[in-house]
């Protein structure tokens, strides 16, 4: 009997193919949105977790000015080399303090030309970023002090400028400064924000300041705490030291900020979760609307098929059999919507995860839930029309035209 009901339902749906499709559009959109959101959300979370592990959870950023809404940071003083020396000398539990100065410039080798962010730093950078060299070597202290233009390049720069050739020992032009490639970084991939970490050129900070930036500013400082050291404690130490060095009197606000990388990543993850939740709510509303659409069209269908229902009741269908038939029809209809929605959602997720460069992780549980939920929508919203059909008076129904 159930099989017959499914067959009948498929027949009825096929007879009104376009109407059926429009009816379940709400379900398709609702389920599709849920599946896409959850799948992309899963990928993002996995990506962030992996990034957290990659970064190490012990990295602190020191930036001039205060970042945040309504705060201008452009006029804040940058740092200088004596700040770095003081931090290295006075902070406890610290593994590396790396100065950072950056500029986006043209990098040229032969006829190849590429715009890349060049970072002036020193050998502490490799420790702070936990970034090893694939080939060659890092900066010698002599090079750092003398301001010699030697540079270490990332994998993307190597690929674009050198192709398959060996870059070590070659001279490249960085913003018209000739510079020997002494090292090649290991591939790191993309950051959680989608930037290509391998698209980078590193050079000793002294050389960068003199020959590329034209000033002695240090734009950022990376500080990595030793394993097992509380980053919050290091953060307050940095704040105290810098307030003192920058003559900020008690009661005045800092004109710099220290941010814990762990918090930055967690904040991003939190924002993703909120967004997922919001879109989930939109999807739920869409499912509700879809359910009401199904109820509406089923009521129309019962009225249209009054005579047919009368025939069925007169030739021996019991009420519960008519009820079952219409319930199954509503359910098959919404399951159709659910299945199309699941496929659509997965398709969208494939595109979105590829665009965001996060892994495509399908959660079978959420697919089951979406499936079950669309079946439930069919039963809940199909019940009223089905009951109306089952309770028709066969005499009246047969007379209906």
């Amino acid at each position: 009997m159930l099989l017959e009901a499914v067959k009948l339902a498929l027949q009825a749906i096929r007879r009104n193919a376009l109407r059926s499709f429009l009816t379940v559009l709400g379900i398709i959109i609702g389920v599709g949105a849920v599946i896409a959101m959850v799948t992309v959300g899963n990928g993002t979370t996995a990506r962030i977790t992996a990034d957290l592990a990659k970064l190490g959870t012990n990295l602190l950023f020191v930036l001039p000015g205060q970042v945040g809404p309504g705060r201008a940071s452009s006029d804040a003083r940058s740092f200088n080399s004596r700040d770095i020396e003081a931090m290295r000398a006075q902070l406890r539990g610290v593994q590396a303090v790396a100065p950072i100065a950056q500029k986006s410039v043209a990098v040229i080798y032969g006829t190849e030309n590429r715009n890349t962010v060049v970072t002036g730093t020193d050998s502490a950078y490799f420790v702070a970023q936990d970034w090893a060299l694939a080939r060659g070597r890092g900066f010698f202290e002599g090079e750092e002090r003398a301001g010699r233009a030697a540079c270490v390049i990332g994998q993307t720069v190597r690929e674009k400028l050198f192709g398959s050739a060996d870059p070590i020992g070659q001279d490249i032009r960085v913003h018209n400064v000739s510079c020997e490639v002494i090292g090649l970084l290991e591939a790191k991939g993309q950051s959680s924000f989608g930037t290509d970490l391998d698209d980078t050129v590193l050079m000793p900070i002294r050389a960068f300041q003199r020959r590329i930036a034209g000033n002695m500013d240090i734009m950022r400082v990376y500080v990595s705490a030793r394993n097992g050291v509380d980053t919050a404690k290091v953060q307050t130490d940095i704040e105290r030291l810098l307030r003192e060095r920058r003559n900020i009197t008690t009661g005045k606000e800092d004109d710099f900020s220290v941010r814990d990388m762990k918090q930055v990543v967690q904040a991003t993850a939190g924002a993703t979760a909120v967004l997922t939740g919001l879109l989930g709510a939109v999807a739920a509303v869409s499912l509700l609307v879809g359910g009401i659409g199904i109820m509406n069209i089923m009521l129309v269908s019962v009225t249209e098929r009054t005579r047919e229902i009368g025939i069925r009741l007169a030739i021996g269908a019991l009420e519960e059999q008519v009820l079952l038939q219409f319930l199954v029809e509503a359910m098959v209809l919404s399951l159709f919507g659910g299945i199309i929605g699941i496929l659509l959602g997965l398709g969208l997720a494939v595109l979105a995860t590829a665009a965001l460069n996060v892994p495509f992780l399908v959660d079978p549980f959420i697919i089951l839930v979406a499936f079950g939920f669309s079946a439930m929508v069919g039963v809940v919203f199909g019940y009223v029309p089905a009951r109306r059909a089952a309770h028709l008076d066969p005499i009246q129904a047969l007379r209906h035209e």
Partner: protein
């Protein structure tokens, strides 16, 4: 249930059956204290002017409706005391219906139409296909099994409806103006078919008709006037 020594109860027995539609000033009396008895194997024609209560009586006979007062016993069971579900069960066990407007499912083949009552009785596909093909053969529609109602003539459609009504081997076949939409030639075909079903399969046939020519095929003719039985007599064929 009949006890030993007693004769079995009549197939159909109306005892003072009245039917009133609506209430108060809008009340329309359709049947007025009708007494009627029909036994197994009879072929009865019901005649009478429009609005005389023929269809109302047929609906009560078919357990689709219940009397306002009086009792209707079908095989000894007081139908007025049964709920909707029990009446539905009674209908599908013992009764077959043929309507004036054929009432076949559109866009559904003849054989599928005939199978329909068997589906609701939970019969396996192979078995019900076999029975449906047999019923179609008995009404002379071999070779037309896969035609939809739109591809069949009125007479052929009515024969599909008769096959559908008899495929369940009912005790009683109720036909309300079965030839009302057909021309004379097709009407005669249908009447011959009903006579054969009555004689060969022993199905009790109760038929409403306006046409004396068709009523003449029955063995008994009941005439309704204003919700009462005006006359009840054997037909010429029976005499």
């Amino acid at each position: 249930m009949p006890r030993d020594g007693e004769p079995p109860p009549p197939l159909i027995a109306f005892e003072g059956v009245s039917k009133v539609f609506g209430t108060g000033l809008a009340a329309v009396p359709a049947l007025n204290a009708v007494d009627l008895r029909i036994d197994r194997g009879e072929f009865v024609a019901i005649m009478g002017p429009s609005g005389s209560g023929k269809s109302t009586a047929m609906n009560i006979l078919g357990c689709l409706d219940t009397p306002t007062s009086g009792t209707y016993r079908f095989m000894g069971v007081d139908v007025g005391r049964l709920d909707r579900r029990r009446r539905a069960l009674l209908r599908r066990r013992y009764l077959g219906f043929v309507f004036q407007g054929f009432n076949l499912l559109a866009r559904t083949s003849a054989v599928e139409n005939v199978e329909l009552p068997l589906i609701y009785r939970g019969m396996a596909p192979a078995e019900r296909r076999r029975l449906a093909l047999g019923a179609l053969a008995r009404v002379g529609l071999e070779g037309r099994e896969d035609h939809t109602p739109g591809e069949l003539s009125g007479g052929q459609q009515q024969r599909v409806a008769i096959a559908r009504a008899t495929v369940t081997d009912p005790a009683v076949l109720l036909a309300d103006e079965p030839t009302g939409n057909l021309d004379t030639r097709m009407s005669l075909e249908i009447m011959n078919l009903l006579v054969r079903l009555n004689r060969e399969q022993g199905i009790t046939v109760i038929m409403v008709t306006h046409e004396p020519d068709m009523a003449a095929f029955a063995r008994r003719i009941i005439r309704f006037v204003d919700g009462r039985i005006d006359s009840d007599a054997p037909s010429e064929r029976a005499a």
